[in-house]
């Protein structure tokens, strides 16, 4: 141990202190970055006096996995909730004011009033007007649902494009990690970048990871489909531009395997893509079927028969494209978009009172009296009689039309309620795991500042050492001169 070794020790101390300071400053600058993991400088002695500073990156595999899975879950749930909320508002209106259920009540009231004073043409017109509003609610609701499906399809297209580009970015980051590790360079930055892309990918599909020894990461979806393995797998999706009630959307294929849609209000879907598929293929078509059944119920109730009761034909409500006849108790897709007011009744509302919408054989009011109430009363009775509905639609198989419409409202609100509660839970889980992950791997500025204080002192001490040794050598050399 000589003075020169003291000098070189102080020199290496200065070097390591400055390296540690750079770590501290990097930490402080990235304190608010959620995708940054705290770096720690670990000083180790290789030989007496020689120090090596290695940079350790704080990470927790388990917490990251929890966070990523919570992220997928929560994104899927919020997507579902937002979709269901927007569907409800566009079909049923705010507070259900323009739902078919409410408007059917208005039609019933108008009919009752008309039957009390059947000679009034104004009241006849008001019945037709109430029917018109009901028809327009069904038509517009249908249109809104199919527009929603088309928009969801567009969103799916965007999501798949984004996912493909994210996988390409992930590929680059992964290759960077492998090459850095091979070359022995500091790999922390590359790891941070790769993790950031992983989190973004997890928003779209649920991801399970597996890390190999050389730092390579393999990505799979929750049900085992390969997403990335040394190269990204293709995710393909064919857009459907126009939707009608009978149209089925195309599936999203990951590596050739179709991605499953979620189901239920507390959705089993994970990741935005599954949730969008659920909205497009499950929720929206269910609502469309309900509207179609309501339309069929209305057409059936207001059918006109001959006074003997035979030869039922479309009465107040008719529909525009074929088929020619409706089967009782069977869903007819697209009926809600095609239901119309019968043009004969629009031209002459008193046909509701007298009959004869379908020709002279259907006239009930043979004497032509202006206060004939039997037909109007029979419509009122039919509205309170149960009819058969298609059980596969799932909201009732034998009930009145009005109750069926209320059941439809109840169904969608139950779904929204479940989705909302689940969204709260999943978001709380996400927040909690995010906090825990951040606490584990994030930066605390006060902590870094205190480290900096220590480093300052140690730098001062080393500098002082240098000065002291320098003075000692100078005095020695002065003695020999």
């Amino acid at each position: 141990m000589s003075l020169s070794s003291a000098l070189s020790i102080a020199q290496s101390a200065l070097l390591s202190t400055s390296k540690q300071t750079s770590v501290v400053s990097r930490n402080v600058s990235e304190a608010q970055n959620a995708n940054y993991s705290r770096r720690q400088a670990v000083v180790s002695s290789t030989a007496p006096g020689a120090r090596v500073v290695t940079i350790q990156r704080s990470a927790s595999e388990q917490l990251l996995r929890q966070y990523v899975s919570a992220l997928s879950s929560s994104t899927a749930q919020t997507t579902l909730l937002a979709g269901v909320g927007s569907l409800t508002t566009s079909v049923n209106g705010v507070d259900n004011t323009s739902s078919p259920a409410t408007l059917m009540g208005k039609l019933q009231d108008a009919l009752q009033l008309y039957s009390a004073t059947p000679s009034s043409e104004i009241l006849a017109e008001s019945v037709v007007e109430a029917a018109r509003q009901l028809v327009s609610a069904l038509n517009n609701g249908s249109k809104a649902i199919q527009t929603f499906r088309a928009e969801t399809d567009a969103q799916l297209g965007e999501a798949v494009d984004k996912l493909n580009s994210l996988l390409a970015d992930f590929h680059n980051a992964n290759r960077q990690v492998i090459s850095d590790m091979q070359a022995g360079r500091d790999v922390s930055d590359a790891l941070d970048r790769r993790e950031a892309f992983l989190k973004q990918i997890a928003e779209f599909v649920p991801v399970t990871t597996m890390t190999r020894e050389n730092g390579d990461m393999v990505l799979m979806t929750g049900d085992g489909t390969m997403l990335y393995e040394t190269s990204p797998r293709t995710i393909s999706f064919d857009r459907t531009i126009v939707y009608t009630a009978g149209t089925d959307g195309k599936a999203v294929y990951i590596d050739g395997i179709p991605l499953a849609a979620g189901n239920g209000g507390n959705t089993s879907a994970s990741g935005k893509i599954s949730a969008l598929l659920q909205l497009r293929d499950d929720v929206a078509p269910a609502m469309q079927s309900q509207l179609d059944e309501i339309a069929r119920g209305l057409i059936t109730v207001f059918e006109e028969t001959e006074p003997s009761g035979a030869n039922a034909a479309p009465g107040l409500f008719t529909w525009s494209p074929p088929p020619a006849a409706l089967t009782a108790g069977t869903l007819e897709k697209g009926l809600a978009a095609g239901i119309r007011i019968n043009p004969a009744v629009e031209a002459d509302p008193t046909l509701l009172r007298d009959g004869g919408i379908n020709g002279a054989a259907y006239v009930w009011n043979a004497s032509g009296g202006a206060s004939y109430t039997a037909l109007l009363n029979s419509y009122g009775d039919r509205l309170s009689d149960p009819i058969a509905f298609d059980a596969s639609v799932g909201i009732g198989s034998s009930t009145t039309v009005a109750n069926y419409a209320s059941n439809a409202v109840g169904w969608v609100e139950a779904l929204r309620q479940t989705a909302s509660y689940a969204a709260e839970t999943k978001e709380a889980l996400l927040t909690r795991t995010g906090e825990t992950l951040s606490n584990e791997t994030g930066v605390n500025i006060d902590h870094e500042m205190t480290l900096l204080l220590d480093l300052e002192h140690s730098y001062q001490a080393s500098a002082r050492l240098l000065q002291a040794v320098d003075e000692m050598l100078a005095s020695l050399l002065a003695a020999v001169r």
Binding site: R38, N96, Q112, S119, E413, A414, E440, N444, I445, D446
Partner: protein, 351 residues
Amino acid sequence: MKTNFVSSYAVSSALRHRLMQMQTDLVKAQKEATTGAVADTGLALGSRTGKLVSLQREVDSLQGMIVSNGLVSGRLNATQEALNRLRTVAEDFASTLTAGISSNSDVTVATTAANGVLETMTAILNNSLNGEYLFAGIDTDIPPFKDFTTAVPATFDTAFQSHFGFAQDDPQAVNITGADMETFLSTVIEPSFLDDSSPAPNWKTEWSNASDQKVVNRISLSERVESSTNANSEGVRRLAMAAASASALLTETMSVEAKAAVLNNALSQVGAAIGRITSEQTQFGIAQNRIKSANDRLEAQKDLFQRSALDLKGVDVAEAATRVSTLLTQIETSYALTARIQNLSILNYLT
């Protein structure tokens, strides 16, 4: 040495998150405090929202039925009043006829009275309410009672002529006995008024345009009521027959017996008519009662449904208001704390 580490990012984002949550709750609580109903019925009720929609619809429909019952009631009241007046007319005519029979006075008194009865009858029977003729059955846009002044006596004259072979004011009319006159009245005149299948001229062709069908109205979910009468009822026919025969068949040239027969027949017809009109009035009274009790029941049902709906979506306003003020205090405290915590940094103490 490892203690529980807290990162700056976690601290600040947690504070932000809590703040956003409280603000959302505040908006919801404020809406509930002002409207007294839950802020989002769908979220609060779930599948029971369907029940709420049904209840609200039922309340509206019951209210609508109460209103339409009011219309039907109005029609019943007006008809009842008209029937009253008709009965009064009939009773007055009966007393005039009685006086005519007992005093055997000039027939012109009875004839004038009969004409007056026919005119009043026309006015009463052609009464309308809101553009609907009350006595027309379901043909409410056509006046039920024809204008009789020229046609009726002509048909009587024709009938008299064809039965007896001469006119009423022919000198041979004095030979008509009481029995002959009674036969004439019961075999020719009565069927033409009472029997719709008798050959023309009969009641339907000469007197009434009314339809036989009565207006039936729905007054509650399961009840129907007949809410109109028509001019083809028996009381009206008999009264018209009495007045018409007294007006067209009495002439100076007839024998006292024949005149007495006509007057007696008219009197008995009027008596029967009063009886029938009274029984119709009773029926209408019953119908009016039915409507009133139906309305009472509908009101009670409506109240029940309104209370059920309120149970489903109602919120205690006082509790909601308390919640609003608690949240406001919490938010203000949270603002103060957030500011203090963010200001807490060791950098403030490093010179």
